[in-house]
Amino acid sequence: MAGIIEVSALERSFKGPDGAPLAAVDGVDLRVEDGEVYGFLGPNGAGKTTLVRMLVTLLRPTAGSARVAGHDIVREAAAVRSAIGVTLQDAALDPLMTGFELLSLQASLHGLRKRAAADKAEELLERVDLTFAGPQRVGTYSGGMRRRLDLAMSLIHEPGVLFLDEPTTGLDPISRKVLWDEVRRLNAAGTTVFLTTQYLEEADELADRVGIIARGKIVAEGTPAELKAQAGASKLEVTIHDPDQLATARELLSARRSLLAPRSGVSLCLRLEPGESALAPYVVALDQAGVTVDRIDLVEPSLDDVFLMQTGHHFPSDGDEPAAADAAVAE
């Protein structure tokens, strides 16, 4: 059976600063099954937004093909638009209109008559907990309220596929949690969700499967558990109380396992064997050697480890400079 989203060798290039083509999305293949939450993870400038804009028909591919809800994104763009809901990276709202008016307008554009559009607007305002703000102009909304209204607008025609492009970027933790809950609720009701994010935790929390993109190419794909398993076994991080005992501890532990780069100058990090989870032997050995341990942590592999393994560097933190390709998209 065909996937609800099928992408084959999709490419999009922009003119780079030197005039040469710059590939923002470079031969991406992926498939999303009906009812899945697919997390598309990548740092700023990796090509996430470019890919989403192609899939939602806002940007034409340079090469390759894609089908969404059974429709070709280029030849059947209108049918794709009827089948999907979209919230883009920046909440696309008219600040002069009220929340109720925006939802009614959106409902009208999707073919609902005046009365039905008003009923739908009321229903969605209630669903995203914005009934109190419905009569207020959107310009007065907080960031979290705008995001929720944007999400409500994308649900007006009850789409089977929902694209969420970094829906929680810039939101406070509480607003983020509210949106996560809504995504889970929508997915439980049968909506397929294609979620781009630059937050490792978000992909881990929400996605059934994750695709990791870097420099326009998918570098890893699978369930979060599968990807973490690829990244290897757990790590043990030991923080030593007395820096003078660090050499003794290093000698002791390196005789048992290979050491990794530590987080700080008074800690040691070693990779455990796959399946190994018992900390006691290490604690006992250090204790018998007279080394005072402040803290000992068993660290499970994370998606950051997957990213590190695939690209050779850690996942950039929020706020890093976007790459040239996404800067071109932003223009």
């Binding site: 028909t57 696309a92 009208s108 554009l109 607008m153």
Partner: protein, 258 residues
């Protein structure tokens, strides 16, 4: 969504109403475009009010001569302002939301152009009230209808042109181009004096300038009688301008995803 004509008109009307929001909610933003044609008319009348004594004017009241130009200017300014608003919608992402709707692209353009046609009524009313206070007589219902209808059609044409520019440049930085292109084209017509009194180079331009024929069609009833002879070239001119501007806007909206 394969919308029929009635459904497309309904969708366009929804967008027209949305386009009128700014007038109602930020009236201050509309003031320059509403007031400018009247100021231009009254200024022109105050400075050149006795030009009608020159041979070639046939003794026309100069206010009746200059007032119709304000209708044309109202169409030009309102259309340009509509394009600037669209550029702002593109910049803040709202237009992406419009493009994601399954409504046909031509409906989106028609909605924007339609809002310009209605917004132009505001400066038209101000022109008429100011002209009346300055002493203009009742021109007759026909003259009034032609003046307002052509101003509305011109506003739609200029809105299509300006929206095409907005979609090409995707920035309010294109605002000067939207505003000056129509303004300059209109200046190269018989605004202040009959075409026969213009300098040869300007007369040559005015004779091929569609704004000239549009202005003649609006002006005819204010300075004389309405005739088919002066009407059809104006209708042809506005039809041509609308067709070209519509084609430009539609081609640009279809290239928004390129």
């Amino acid at each position: 969504m394969n919308a029929g004509i009635a459904e497309q008109l309904r969708l366009a009307w929804v967008l027209v109403r949305r386009g009128l929001n700014e007038v109602l909610r930020v009236p201050g933003a509309s003031i320059p475009g509403v007031v400018a044609p009247t100021i231009y008319m009254l200024g022109g009348y105050s400075v050149f009010g006795r030009l009608n004594l020159l041979p070639g004017f046939s003794g026309d009241d100069y206010l009746a001569w200059i007032l119709p130009t304000a209708f044309i200017q109202a169409g030009v300014f309102t259309g340009a302002a509509t394009g600037v608003n669209l550029a702002r919608d593109i910049e803040n992402g709202w237009f992406d939301r419009m493009l994601l709707a399954p409504a046909p692209r031509r409906v989106l353009v028609a909605g924007v152009a339609g809002s310009a046609s209605i917004r132009v009524l505001l400066p038209c009313v101000l022109i008429l009230v100011s002209g009346w206070l300055a002493g203009i007589g009742w021109p007759g219902a026909g003259t009034l209808a032609i003046s307002i209808a052509l101003a509305a059609l011109l506003a739609a044409a200029m809105a299509c042109w300006a929206c095409g520019l907005a979609m090409k440049f995707k920035s309010q930085d294109a605002a000067p181009l939207m505003q000056t292109s129509g303004f300059i084209a209109f200046q190269l017509t018989a605004i202040f004096a009959p075409i026969a009194l213009l300098a040869p180079w300007m007369r040559a331009i005015a004779q091929v300038n569609p704004f000239t024929y549009l202005l003649d069609a609006v002006r005819q009833g204010w300075i004389g009688e309405i005739s088919w002879h002066d009407t059809w070239p104006g209708l042809l001119a506005i039809a041509g301008m609308l067709a070209l501007a519509w084609w430009f806007a539609i081609s640009r909206i279809r290239r928004m995803d390129a």
